[in-house]
């Protein structure tokens, strides 16, 4: 009996031991699960990092785009201002040209008048 008890005990012990302790397969399983978990974690981390990087990049892009847009807007504004300025200057130039033409006309008229006057005076001076 004792023997059988022992046997039972041993068996039980063995059974409990065996039941209580993880088997290699379990270990492997656990290990595999652990690995999986860690891999997932790593993946998640990576994804998070990527997302962060992407977010940062996106931020940078947006900033650059903003900057570009700003620059473009400034350029456009500058160009518009320049165009306006050019238009103004052209107008001024046209005005000046008109004034010059007027002055030239006046000068010509004055010269003609002067010449006519000189002619009249010369003719008068030729009288007795």
């Amino acid at each position: 009996m004792r023997k059988s008890l022992w046997a039972i005990l041993i068996m039980s012990f063995i059974a409990f031991t065996l039941a209580g302790c993880a088997t290699t397969r379990d270990l492997e399983k656990v290990q595999a699960q652990e690995k999986q978990t860690s891999a997932k974690a790593e993946q998640a981390l990576q994804a998070a990092q990527d997302a962060q990087a992407a977010a940062t990049a996106a931020k940078v892009d947006t900033a650059a785009q903003l900057e570009q847009a700003n620059a473009a807007a400034m350029k456009a504004a500058d160009a518009a201002a320049r165009a306006e300025n050019a238009l103004k200057m052209a107008e001024e130039r046209a005005k000046m040209a008109e004034e010059r033409a007027k002055m030239a006309e006046e000068k010509t008229a004055a010269a003609e008048e002067k010449a006519e006057k000189a002619d009249v005076i010369f003719r008068k001076s030729m009288k007795k």
């Binding site: 010449a115 000189a118 005076i121 001076s125 009288k127 007795k128």
Partner: protein
């Protein structure tokens, strides 16, 4: 016979060379060139045949021939070949086109005396002379015995006092004779010309001079007159009307002006039978061709002398006013107009229009009315063909004679050298150089002569009249400048008394 084979841009050339070139050093050089495997072969026909046919080089030769045949003689192209004289080709005879021979310019042209053909009414030729810097139309007018207004009308765009250098001034030395009997003296007031007809047997000639005539206020008389008397160095008895005018201008005249430079009659006078009217010279030669007299007829001093000498007392003088003249020459009909459309003389125009209509009705003498219209509009005072012949109508400048420019224009006022002891008048200080030059020219052409020049600084051009011998002369000149030209001159004392 020897041959040289040389390359010539990829093709074989066989040049026959003169034997003398194979002698001496040149020959040896060629041999050495050949032996050095240079890019030249120097062979004789004997050697060629011996080398080729008496040896085992036939295949090589044939290969060479084949190669050459197929490829052309591919001898090196850049062989340093001594330049052999290429066979001389007769140089092509290029007939060099001869430059069109420039017509030599005529030095002289008849200005006053012309023969008159029975059927013709047009005398003289149009001419042109090149302008140079400093020339004025009054100087050109006087030199060619023309009136100032006539030259101005012929050159409507030219500045009378500063014509552009390099341009050609047209000289209206062609005239349509007035439509009157050709006898004695005929004066056409509109053309401002005097015609003196001379008959010699069957031939008729005319001498013509430009004249100065009366103003609109005091026009010259028209009608038949004659020379009553002649006078050398006449005295001028100033008419009351002229004395009045002068007094009003602040320039009172003495009742009698003796002969001399201040006498406006000049040196010669022909008295007309119509009281107070004379044909005379002048002390203002640049008034000829202007309407500037009190009714008298003025001539250049050089012309009045000739007229005076060739005109006897009792010579008939017919004064007419014909602004529109029609004349014939060599079958052509010419028209000369002296009034612009603005100055239209309706009565005279109606007469000339009727004449043109009459001529147009004649089958052989069609009038080119377009040309008539143009002549009337331009009023250049020169005869222009308007129909009746082969010559193209309206081409007034065809056959114009280009004259050599004289070294000096006759009568051109001379300016004495600057004198330190002389008195001067500062007539004007102007910014424009051209204006200053014109003013100086106007002063220079006064009668009696007042010399004037332009002294230029960087930004001003001073017109200085003078030199005058003393203060009195300077004052007299200043007074004349003021009265005649409205110039307030400033007297300048001599720099060294």
């Amino acid at each position: 016979m020897r041959y040289i084979m040389t390359s010539d841009r990829g093709g074989s050339v066989r040049k026959r060379c003169p034997a003398r070139q194979y002698d001496g050093k040149l020959y040896e050089k060629m041999i050495s060139d050949f032996s050095d495997d240079n890019k030249m072969f120097f062979l004789t026909p004997g050697r060629i045949s011996a080398r080729i046919f008496a040896s085992d080089r036939r295949p090589l030769f044939f290969a060479f021939v084949l190669f050459t045949f197929l490829y052309g003689c591919a001898l090196p192209r850049n062989a340093p070949v001594e330049p052999f004289p290429a066979p001389r080709r007769p140089e092509p005879k290029i007939e060099q086109k001869k430059a069109p021979e420039e017509k030599p310019l005529e030095e002289n042209i008849e200005r006053n005396d012309f023969p008159v053909a029975k059927e013709d009414d047009v005398v003289g030729r149009l001419a042109a002379v090149r302008i140079e810097k400093g020339d004025t139309l009054p100087d050109i007018s006087r030199h060619f015995s023309l009136g100032i207004d006539a030259v101005r009308a012929a050159n409507p765009v030219m500045d009378i006092w500063a014509p552009e250098a390099g341009k050609q001034a047209v000289l209206p030395l062609s005239f349509i004779l007035p439509d009157v009997q050709r006898k004695g003296i005929v004066i056409n007031l509109a053309a401002m010309r005097l015609f003196q007809f001379k008959e010699d047997g069957n031939s008729l000639s005319v001498t013509t001079y430009p004249i100065g005539v009366g103003t609109e206020e005091r026009p010259s008389p028209t009608g038949q007159m004659y020379i009553e008397r002649k006078m050398y160095r006449p005295t001028w008895y100033v008419p009351a009307s002229i004395a009045d005018d002068h007094r009003k201008r602040g320039d009172p005249l003495p009742p009698i002006v003796p002969p001399g430079p201040m006498n406006p009659l000049g040196e010669y006078a022909l008295y007309l039978n119509k009281s107070s009217y004379l044909i005379h010279g002048t002390n203002k030669p640049y008034s000829i061709g202007l309407r500037a007299t009190n009714g008298c007829i003025r001539l250049y001093p050089e012309d009045i002398r000739k007229l005076y000498e060739s005109t006897p007392v009792k010579t008939p003088v017919l004064i007419v006013n014909q602004p529109y003249l029609i004349g014939h020459r060599d079958g052509m009909i010419y028209m000369e107009v002296h009034l612009t459309p603005a100055e239209l003389d309706a009565e005279a125009f109606d007469k000339v229009y009727a004449k043109l209509k009459y001529l147009d009705r004649k089958r052989d003498r069609r009038i080119d009315w377009k040309a008539v219209k143009r002549v009337l509009a331009e009023a250049r005072g020169i005869p222009v063909p308007i129909g009746g012949g082969q010559k193209q109508s309206g081409k007034d400048m065809a056959g114009i004679v280009e004259l050599k420019r004289p070294d000096k224009f006759y009568g051109k006022p001379e300016i004495p050298e600057w004198q330190i002891e002389g008195w001067y008048i500062l007539a004007a200080d102007l910014r424009n150089e051209k204006d200053a030059a014109k003013l100086a020219a106007v002063i220079n052409h006064q009668g009696p002569h007042i010399p004037a020049r332009v002294l230029s600084k960087t930004d001003s051009h001073r017109v200085i009249a003078g030199p005058f011998n003393n203060l009195n002369e300077a004052r007299q000149a200043a007074k004349r400048l003021k009265i005649d030209l409205e110039i307030e001159g400033i007297l300048m004392e001599p720099a060294r008394k």
